[in-house]
Structure formats: structure tokens, C-alpha cells
């Protein structure tokens, strides 16, 4: 029935666009008005909701902090956000709505690369700067010169995972189990394979699944038969949780590891005790003793009933702060000048480390490796580029 809805999506998108066009004349111009409008599209519900919610809470906190200290350029920020329900097709519609009807000066979003890739061409065509907090697939910013990100990219993450597999896990033979439906997963698998093989490692088995699958036993049985030293699962937490649980149940004891798609409390809820001997790389650890990080952790806990921020929350926060910094430096929200100011971001002190945007509009910053011990995420090491 999902598929039927998917078939309907283009029609719905068309209708929404038409409606947006109709209301355009009546809508107040956000940029010229009393407030600065910033739009966000996020996976607030659905498969990647844990990520979307975290990231959204971080962004929301940043906007509230900015407004509490007088806003930007003497104006308050109006934060307009929409939920894409983690489903394909929605982000494009939302981006159109935010740009044409709400007239936002910039877009923030998304956690999932696939959905950032849907909105990016629309932001680019309308010349509205878009900053993705945590989409790591390189293609996202390749869309055009108005698209930025404040996180590291998958080639960097793939390389550090390859190093990690070889040095820390001492793995020679690795199996890769990736999600064909997620550009993030396919990309990360590829960026892992190249440096790993170049460094003398061997990929013993390569299996695929489709995000949302529930049964992975057939592929895992095939992987088990190859006796890999470690298994790379570059997917998102809902699938990863089931994969790890089913792998352990089939008697696979090899360490399993992945990227920042793993980080959500739901992973532990789904897989529970099966998560011993698993590792993932991510952007941020709340255990970091840096005063800026501890200040953010305290503010986040105070705002959200004692909840500890994760990497997505930290990146969501940083995405809004990088944008605010650029608006201040530009002195205007005019799109061309704002774009140039974002592109010139250099050494911005964010909670996920110093953020510098390179010529490809990507951030270069350190990563951390996290492991799971007794049902808790534990900081293992920091890797610098």
C-alpha cells in the first residue's frame, strides 16, 4: 500500500506546488519582514525518526538560544519545520513549500542522505542556501554551490573504518552487508572497500538488503559460511538492530561495525545484549570534556528533560549555529551574499569540533569511535583526519 502511495506522490507534489503558487502572492515575504525565517525538513516520524527527532531538538535548541540573545541582525528568527515521515518523495514537496510559500532564507536538513538529495536540487534551483546537519554521502553537496554540510563525509568515514578494522579489530577478511535502498549505505560500503583492499585486506563476502526488510537470516547464513574476521554493516539503526540480533542468534561471533547510522537508543532496545563486540564511528561524544561540549550537553539536558544529546543533536545544533554565524558575517539574508558567507566558514567553534568548510562545501572534522558495553554506548577513541 506504501507503493500505491508512492505512485500518488508525484500527483500530490504537483497539487501542493500549484497550491503553493496560488498562495504566493498573499504570503508575506519572510526575508523582508520583521523576522528571519529559517526552514527545516526532518524525519520527525517514521523509520529514521530517532535521528530526525534528535537533530531537530538540537536545531530547535540553537534557534531558541539565538532568539534569547536577541536573534540575528536585530530580528527574531522564525523557525518553520516540516515532517517528511522518513518516506521518499516528501522532502522535495516540503522543500518547495518552505521555499515558495514560506520564503525561508535558508534550509536546514536532513539526517538521511537520500532525503537531502531530494531537496538539494530544489534549494539549488531556487538559490536558497541549504545546510545538511548530518548527511554524509558526498553526492549531497555535489548538487551545487548552494548546498553545504557541517559533518564529515563518507569517504573520510569509510577510510577511518578501514583503518579501524585493520588496526583495532585486526581483521584481514571482512564481510560487507549493505542497504541497497540507501545511498548512504551503498556509498559508505564503497568508501570502506577501496582503502581496506588497498591496505591488504580482503572482502570475503558482500551481501545486500533493502531498508525495511525484517528477515536477514539468508544473507547472514551466507556470510557466516565465509568465516569473516569482522562484518561491516553500514546501515541505519532499525535494520542494524535486527541484523545484529539475527547474526548473533545464528551463532556469528565476529565483531560487527558500522557508521554514524547506528547511533540511536532504539538500536539498544531492538538488539539488546546482542550488541556486545560492536563498534561504530560517529561525530560526537557527550563524554568529551571540552567546556563548549559540556555547556551544550547541560543546556540540552535542561531543555529536554534530562535527555543526553547524541551526534545527530550536536550536528543539528551546529548546522543552525553555522548558519547564524554566516548571517551575522554577511550582515544580510540576501541569498547570494549569505551563500558566500557560509562558504567562507573557517574554524567555527561548534560542539562537534572546529568546522571549516572546504571548496566542496564539506566540513573536515574529527570522528569518534563508540562501542557498546553492557547495553550502554561507550566512547572508545577519537580519529582525526
Amino acid at each position: 500500500m506504501n507503493k500505491r502511495l508512492a505512485a500518488l506522490a508525484p500527483t500530490l507534489a504537483g497539487i501542493t506546488l500549484a497550491l503553493a503558487a496560488c498562495s504566493q502572492s498573499g504570503a508575506p515575504g519572510g526575508a523582508a519582514g520583521e523576522t528571519i525565517r529559517i526552514g527545516e525538513f526532518a524525519s520527525l516520524t517514521g523509520k529514521e525518526a530517532a535521528f530526525g527527532q534528535s537533530s531537530h531538538k538540537g536545531t530547535q535548541l540553537a534557534i531558541e538560544e539565538l532568539n534569547a540573545t536577541g536573534g540575528l541582525l536585530g530580528k527574531k528568527i522564525e523557525f518553520i519545520y516540516e515532517d517528511n515521515r522518513s518516506s521518499p518523495g516528501e522532502s522535495a514537496t516540503i522543500a518547495k513549500k518552505l521555499i515558495t510559500r514560506d520564503r525561508v532564507v535558508a534550509l536546514l536538513g536532513e539526517v538521511a542522505s537520500g532525503r537531502s538529495l531530494e531537496a538539494a536540487p530544489i534549494a539549488q534551483a531556487n538559490k536558497v542556501p541549504m545546510i545538511s546537519p548530518s548527511s554524509t554521502n558526498p553526492k549531497v553537496t555535489e548538487t551545487g554551490d548552494y548546498i553545504f554540510r557541517v559533518c564529515f563525509t563518507d569517504p573520510f568515514q569509510g577510510k577511518l573504518l578501514a583503518e579501524f578494522a585493520r588496526k583495532t579489530l585486526k581483521a584481514q577478511k571482512v564481510a560487507i552487508f549493505s542497504d541497497v535502498a540507501a545511498p548512504y549505505s551503498v556509498g559508505l560500503a564503497q568508501y570502506f572497500r577501496e582503502p581496506f583492499v588497498a591496505g591488504g585486506g580482503r572482502v570475503a563476502a558482500e551481501e545486500k538488503y533493502t531498508g525495511g526488510d525484517k528477515d536477514f537470516k539468508a544473507q547472514l547464513t551466507a556470510i557466516k559460511a565465509q568465516h569473516p574476521d569482522a562484518i561491516l554493516v553500514p546501515g541505519y539503526y532499525t535494520d542494524v538492530g535486527l541484523i545484529v540480533a539475527q547474526a548473533r542468534q545464528l551463532g556469528i561471533t565476529a565483531p560487527m561495525f558500522g557508521g554514524d547510522g547506528w547511533e540511536a537508543p532504539e538500536l539498544i532496545q531492538i538488539a539488546g545484549g546482542a550488541l556486545e563486540e560492536t563498534y561504530y564511528s560517529t561525530h560526537f561524544s557527550p563524554e568529551n570534556s571540552d567546556p563548549a561540549v559540556q555547556k551544550f550537553v547541560a543546556a540540552f539536558k535542561a531543555r529536554y528533560n534530562g535527555e543526553t544529546p547524541d551526534a545527530m543533536a550536536a550536528l543539528g545544533y551546529d548546522s543552525a549555529m553555522v548558519l547564524a554565524d554566516a548571517i551575522r558575517r554577511a550582515g544580510t539574508t540576501e541569498s547570494g551574499k549569505l551563500r558566500d558567507a557560509i562558504a567562507a566558514t573557517n574554524g567555527f567553534a561548534g560542539v562537534t569540533g572546529a568546522t571549516t568548510l572546504d571548496a566542496q562545501r564539506n566540513a573536515t572534522k574529527p570522528a569518534v569511535i563508540i562501542t557498546v558495553k553492557d547495553g550502554q554506548f561507550k566512547y572508545l577513541e577519537t580519529v582525526t583526519p
Partner: protein, 296 residues
């Protein structure tokens, strides 16, 4: 060799779940000659009923698990009867197409109501039954896999017994043969149809729980894909035919597992639906069904 046996176990346990859902499809089709597309969403409601009951009941005990299973089956049976009363009964006697489209509508309604009530986020399903993994020389069979297999077989035979040996079963068969003649000889059509929906939906409820025990992450859209696969399984075995639905489910599970084991994991769903097209082209009655020619 162990790998082959393990894949066989994987395939059979996946197939047993398809079979269980397919039994519900076949049950309703056999009596009313229409595909209840809302079946896969009743299946989802079953899993959620188990989730909420499971939180109240002691976990990992046989008593608590069976109670949750029974509770979910009752809840789904009630939902099935309600759906039939509100959505399908007013359309009885109209063209099958109207009923089919209504079924799709009910399915979408349940999915979206589910998203509204339960939230769209996946939840982790509690361990209702005590867990044990049986290991034989590298081969692993979990208690959940075994439970699916046994419960599916038991329910299949129970269903067959009800349809073939009880008075209500006889009434169902009579209704299926000729509804007008059945009501002339004193069969209460409304009651029999309600019973059919109650039975079919209870099966979906059991299916939802068993599925969630094997794959403990549930969400309001979880029924869609297994539902469609089970539909394929029902057609594969011959829709309307009870042992056919079970056989079709097991066969489909095995086919999917073989496809994945041979390295074609991305083709898994394509092959499953390819099977549907092939069977409709080559043997429209299904493997165990009879081809019926419609009188014009």
C-alpha cells in the same frame, strides 16, 4: 551442508509466517470470493495488541505469552467483524470491484490510523515467550522459528477441521457454493460471514505476534510487504484452498531464501512478485486449486 540446512530452516520459518497470513486471505476468499486487502493491516494491529498486552503481562513466560497471543487474536477477530459490518456489509451484492476498492481504503485507513495512534516510529517488540536457541552442530533453530512452524501447522489443521467437520463450517461452504440457496435453507448469511471474518482476522492477529517475535521491530506499515507476499502465497497455492495457502507460503519462503542464498538479495521481492505473474499466466488456479471457468 550446515549452510544448506540452515538456509532450509530460514526458508521454512519465513514461509510459515507467509502461510499463516495466507490462511486468512484464503479463508475470506473461499467464502466470499473477494480479497480482503485490509487483512495485512489487521495483522499489524495484532502485533500492536501483543505489544501493549506484553507490557502488562509477565514477560518470557508461557502463560503470559499465550495470554498475549489469545488477547491479540480476540482483538483482531473483533476488529475483523467490525470492519466487515461497517465497510463490506453495506456493499454486499454490489460488484466485486467496489468491495475490492473499499478493502484498499480500509487498509489505508488502518495504516494511517495506526500512524496516528501508535506513532510512525518502529518499536521494539517484547520477548513474550521464553527464548531458547537449539543448536545442532552449527545449525541454529530458535524457539520463535519453531513456534511459528508448529502454530501454523496446528492452525491450518484446526481451520480445515472447522470448515470440513463443524456445522458452521458446513454453513460457510454452503454460502460459498450459493449464498441465495444457503439462506433459503435457513443459513444466516450475516452470522456466517461475521464468523468467517472473525476466524480470518484472528489468524492475522496470531500471524502478527509470531512475526513480531521473530523480527522484533514493529511499525504501523509493517503489514504491507508480508501481506502482499502472503497474497502471492495464497494465489500460488490456489486461493480459497486451505492446504494450498500453507503450501504456497512455505514454497514462497523457500524460493525467496534460495534467491538470497544464491547472491540475488536485491531480487528477492522481484522474484516473489514474478512468481505471482508466472502462476497467473501458467496456472491461474494455483498449484493445488482447480481452474474454474466462469459462466457467461
Amino acid at each position: 551442508m550446515t549452510e544448506l540446512l540452515q538456509q532450509l530452516v530460514n526458508g521454512l520459518s519465513l514461509g510459515a509466517i507467509y502461510a499463516l497470513i495466507a490462511l486468512g486471505y484464503t479463508m475470506v476468499y473461499g467464502v466470499l470470493r473477494f480479497i480482503n486487502f485490509a487483512h495485512s493491516d489487521v495483522f499489524m494491529v495484532g502485533a500492536f495488541a501483543g505489544y501493549y498486552l506484553g507490557r502488562e503481562l509477565p514477560s518470557e513466560t508461557f502463560g503470559g505469552g499465550l495470554l498475549a497471543l489469545a488477547g491479540a487474536m480476540v482483538a483482531c477477530a473483533a476488529l475483523g467483524v467490525l470492519i466487515e459490518k461497517l465497510a463490506y456489509r453495506p456493499l454486499r451484492g454490489r460488484s466485486t470491484l467496489s468491495v475490492l476498492i473499499t478493502a484498499i481504503g480500509v487498509s489505508l485507513l488502518l495504516q494511517n490510523l495506526g500512524q496516528r495512534l501508535f506513532g510512525a516510529n518502529p518499536r521494539s517488540f517484547p520477548q513474550l515467550f521464553p527464548r531458547h536457541d537449539f543448536r545442532f552442530d552449527g545449525l541454529v533453530i530458535s524457539s520463535a522459528q519453531l513456534a511459528v512452524f508448529v502454530i501454523t501447522l496446528v492452525l491450518m489443521f484446526a481451520l480445515r477441521w472447522i470448515v470440513m467437520k463443524t456445522r458452521i463450517g458446513m454453513a460457510m461452504r454452503a454460502l460459498s457454493f450459493n449464498p441465495v440457496a444457503a439462506s433459503l435453507v435457513g443459513v444466516s448469511n450475516d452470522f456466517v460471514i461475521s464468523c468467517t471474518f472473525a476466524l480470518g482476522s484472528a489468524l492475522a492477529g496470531a500471524g502478527g505476534i509470531l512475526y513480531a517475535l521473530n523480527y522484533p521491530s514493529i511499525d504501523p506499515l509493517m503489514g504491507t510487504l508480508p501481506g502482499l507476499k502472503a497474497f502471492v502465497a495464497a494465489v500460488l497455492g490456489g486461493i480459497g484452498n486451505i492446504p494450498g495457502a500453507a503450501a504456497g507460503g512455505l514454497l514462497l519462503g523457500l524460493i525467496e531464501t534460495v534467491v538470497v542464498a544464491l547472491g540475488g538479495s536485491t531480487y528477492r521481492d522481484a522474484v516473489a512478485f514474478g512468481v505471482l505473474i508466472l502462476i497467473l499466466l501458467l496456472r491461474p488456479g494455483g498449484l493445488l486449486g482447480r481452474v474454474q471457468t466462469e459462466k457467461v
